[in-house]
Symmetry: D2
Subunit: 382 residues, 4 copies
Amino acid sequence: MNRKLRMGMVGGGRGAFIGSTHRMAAQMDGLIELVCGAFSSDPKRSKLSGKDFFLPANRVYGSYKEMFEKENQLPEGDRMDFVSIVTPNHLHYPVAMAALDAGFHVVCDKPMTMTVKEAKDLEKKVKQTKKLFCLTHNYTGYPMIKEARDMVKSGQIGKIRKVVAEYPQGWLAANIEKDGNKQAGWRTDPKQAGSTCCMGDIGSHAENLAEYVTGLQIEELCAELTTFVPGRQLEDDGNVLVRFNNGARGIIWASQIATGEENQLNIRVYGEKGSLEWHQEEPNSLIVRWLDKPKEIRRTGVGIGKISAGATRLPAGHPEGYLEAFAVLYKNFANALAALLDGKKVEESSCDYPQVSDGVRGMQFLEAVVRSNKAKQKWVKM
Amino acid sequence: MNRKLRMGMVGGGRGAFIGSTHRMAAQMDGLIELVCGAFSSDPKRSKLSGKDFFLPANRVYGSYKEMFEKENQLPEGDRMDFVSIVTPNHLHYPVAMAALDAGFHVVCDKPMTMTVKEAKDLEKKVKQTKKLFCLTHNYTGYPMIKEARDMVKSGQIGKIRKVVAEYPQGWLAANIEKDGNKQAGWRTDPKQAGSTCCMGDIGSHAENLAEYVTGLQIEELCAELTTFVPGRQLEDDGNVLVRFNNGARGIIWASQIATGEENQLNIRVYGEKGSLEWHQEEPNSLIVRWLDKPKEIRRTGVGIGKISAGATRLPAGHPEGYLEAFAVLYKNFANALAALLDGKKVEESSCDYPQVSDGVRGMQFLEAVVRSNKAKQKWVKM
Amino acid sequence: MNRKLRMGMVGGGRGAFIGSTHRMAAQMDGLIELVCGAFSSDPKRSKLSGKDFFLPANRVYGSYKEMFEKENQLPEGDRMDFVSIVTPNHLHYPVAMAALDAGFHVVCDKPMTMTVKEAKDLEKKVKQTKKLFCLTHNYTGYPMIKEARDMVKSGQIGKIRKVVAEYPQGWLAANIEKDGNKQAGWRTDPKQAGSTCCMGDIGSHAENLAEYVTGLQIEELCAELTTFVPGRQLEDDGNVLVRFNNGARGIIWASQIATGEENQLNIRVYGEKGSLEWHQEEPNSLIVRWLDKPKEIRRTGVGIGKISAGATRLPAGHPEGYLEAFAVLYKNFANALAALLDGKKVEESSCDYPQVSDGVRGMQFLEAVVRSNKAKQKWVKM
Amino acid sequence: MNRKLRMGMVGGGRGAFIGSTHRMAAQMDGLIELVCGAFSSDPKRSKLSGKDFFLPANRVYGSYKEMFEKENQLPEGDRMDFVSIVTPNHLHYPVAMAALDAGFHVVCDKPMTMTVKEAKDLEKKVKQTKKLFCLTHNYTGYPMIKEARDMVKSGQIGKIRKVVAEYPQGWLAANIEKDGNKQAGWRTDPKQAGSTCCMGDIGSHAENLAEYVTGLQIEELCAELTTFVPGRQLEDDGNVLVRFNNGARGIIWASQIATGEENQLNIRVYGEKGSLEWHQEEPNSLIVRWLDKPKEIRRTGVGIGKISAGATRLPAGHPEGYLEAFAVLYKNFANALAALLDGKKVEESSCDYPQVSDGVRGMQFLEAVVRSNKAKQKWVKM
């Protein structure tokens, strides 16, 4: 590839947290440039946002439909290569379907869709169109998560017996959606967020992380969802017992009423020979425990693993954070896309970003959690 | 009291971990002296142990029955005041009943009995005999646990919504009972340990800690017990969802196959206004999070609470550990007993040690966990 | 400003750590684009590097002199606005002087020059040309460092009494320059690095951080420099006692033979009412101790300070790292430069990046350290 | 030995911190009992203290002289075996000399004496009388400190290059001696404390720890002492550059005005192959860094070293603290004394407690620090 890849964006205008995150992550490695966008359902707001990003006025659109149509009329040398979808949940599916139909590759925020049915539709569409699709389960981009996955895969910690994945946050401990907090507003609104709040927004990250690190699949689960804040329509806390396909047992829980917690995603994986522990708020350390050796702290930049090294940009001790991990997804996606556009073989390492199939599993997990919560019997199949 | 209190001991001879712990804890504050013992079911081993502790030969007995009988024949000025029971689980009940019947006060290791029925019997006996009874749920002796309880009680963190209590250990990750490890042997033997291994041995500490800190009671639970190590007769891992009597939700889990974990008991309590986090392996810190203030680290020796200060022996920064916390139970018990023997009013602060009623709740918890594990429906009452 | 600022780069071609750091930092916030460069003293290597960054061939130059000349011949609408100098130390001075003379604003890596004389020359030149000059003492870009500075400034911790700033690294514990390590090679070569290795490379960061956070100035110092690795020409370890202009005492030490240490820059500031502690390897926490209140952990994204909030890009709990802090310097510089080019008033907050005067102080510190090391008397004036 | 050893105590009556510490430490392992004491220079206070400890009235003395005389008149079967000296500094020397002259073995708090001359006198006396003498540099009793010493000794971290030992406290940040704080009173009074406050009280611990762990000796030093609190007579802060006898360089600093610090003694030792880091406030972890392997956390109870295991009482994860470490000194001293009294060979491991020679070095260090502080030249010999 002798040029940067061209990205369009749907959603993510002024004031949207996740939009600016995607832009910084996409542009960090100098492989991607933002060329156009439909940044808001309000065309005026979209225009103003485009100005913030120094885009020419004619590349800032009033709607995603307009964007896909007009971009397709541009010569290939100008036209965007892929679209990044950073809208509230309920728009992920229609925008992604439309983008794929219009011939664009897709990066999409999570949860992927509102239902399992939509997820499977989208999976089918990706297969038909042969376009690349990246779901931004961004936490899998951390080098030490890749190191953990690598250690499990190569058998270093032995057969896995137990997994605990937690995601406590405290920002919804009070009814801030009532006071007009926009981020809280759409996440607690069933029409925009779907059938879950806490589990869809953050529990799905914990589930994805557990399956990514262990390479196992959840088969059965037993869940309880609770809404603690009066007047809230969706759950703000969820506890789930899980069974994996190798017989391992686990706990996945998430909470948005864990007062004072910031963004405490963490995972512990216990194997027959060793165990792993990782905390998102101190992401450059991976705690490794052994049956009969001292505890080790493996660190970003000194990891032995080739894969984790490939996700690292700086020498040891220069902390890499959330944006860098997010950018690893974009980098891998960009490398895969560049190879595809150049007609070259896509390296396996470039495909190390969450796929549409991860999105299907995520929706199946959420659907099973909701079903189990209502059920009287202990276990439901996922 | 113008003398030290006189303690006899049942169990805890040479090589027993918990026996030496009880002796060090009992004697730390200079209020109690060991005067006699039946240290082993093997009379010869009992004699040798007595020598280790510099006891006169005539105060070292071949059985607890002999001890209770002979001590009662001694003049009041020599006779032991109370007995400390540190045998394997199945003997707690008969020895405690016999001691109370013989007129001795009792300190007893946990779990208190083998069944709920025994626990209630014992509770009745304590009431009838009006003797003092202390169950050594030792983790409640830590100053920062008392600080946490105090903060909850005084409403500082608001109404409690969620509690997570964990107790991971890794020492039973392999089948060491097969290789003759004595500590592992009796704990995994249903005849000596009862119907559970992991939950009775350590899960019950997590349950007790959760109720002690929050002042709440578990009402319903949903459990899964698993035996991971082939050939083992009792469970070595347990996950329990719980519901408290104020509507709070929780998770209690314990494991003895959490490879590489030492003794990682910890608890997190989330309230409407703040939250608390405590780890047994770093016991002198209590992490306090708030809705809208920076996170605080409260520390042993600088806590404001009168109760936690009363459980502290050293200036701030001089770490107190497991033995000191254990000794707080003995100190409070000794102060209560001294007051009783002196015919004085027992201070409320001296009664701050686990009572026979805690033992009843512990057995009810274990019984409910076993019942729920076998049940198909999600929730069982405790 | 209705466009991105245009950056040229001197040095930082393929394989250079600090070059890619500057590029990622400069481009993170979408305010700056790389438009040209003289990336290596080897013109062929420069060309290849330019290709990596997708630059047109005619904007990749064989030398910085050629770059300044040719860029000046371009129309104003295309020409670079400023140059980023990321060469080995000995070239900082001549390149910066030439850039200023040619009318370009400058971002320059540290240490600024090889001597105090050069530093003062450069300071004079900056004043004469009225160009902006930013020295990348990047650690001052961390939000919690700005929070610390703000707390000191507003008197929250009282008059400062003691400051300890450390910078241990272990990567030069063995003679890796002998084995061809390029990074080690020029840093240990007096011709390229100047009269110090460890103190110039990292000790100067500790000094700068101490003065930035406290607002104080070092007046006197007493130093010892040591070369531990046989065959090395410059020191790899330095310990310095310092006296500040308000009477405070301090220790500044740096080491590159602190085996196993990664990049452990840290600072502790003790005031009459409180104290501050910060570690670069966990940069999102600022530990605050008080005379009579519990220890606090202030965190990026929940800090109260307006200044630290302005240096933050993500919600609390989403860790920001080394690149983000580095990018804060570029962002502030870009905002100042944009205002200047637009003929607007430069906001005070935009000037919060290290100035040429910081570079003069840094050189004075290094010169005094070397002088003190050779002296027999205890204290030398800085 | 078929009985407990009999301890007398000088000082340490009601309200004295260090007295109760010594008693708890001495009695923890069941090898020593307190039989008599001269607990205060005020005979009435001494009597009351004796009652607190349940001592018979005739074994509580009005002065140490009386105690030594009267105890010597008791039959050997009752008489105390050794005396524990826990008075303010200025009395250590006369009491210890008198005890040795009277034929008693000695445990003595630090700093050992007021001057180097006294220290050498005492050393001579110990040799002449052939009595055992233990100086309670208690921090050397921690298992992970013994593990560290063992790792250095066996060459695991290679030749030592740099040592940093710190001891920050904050309790003297304000002039609390003025308000009648007794602990602060005598420590800041030259008549009772000697020529230093901060360095004698805590700096000497840092010095002792550095020499104990490394097995090296300080040869030269360069010091600055500062009194920050107005009206205080002795220094409350000290910074010292040191040179060891193998060429290693180091920093030893202590402060009692480090606001908010509790008892933060810590040490870092950097060798050619690895490095060690230990913090007294989290004493059960030893951080080990390597040239080319992940960082390890060695832990009390899982250490491989025989020596550290011998200083451990509990299984891994059951935190041992300050009192347990202090008790290791008493245990080793008791074992050595028991062997001596039994006419047996004293095991080398039993001699692992600080000797009178450590006290001489401590006084030499303090004397050199004071001398260097006043000197204009940089380095003075120790």
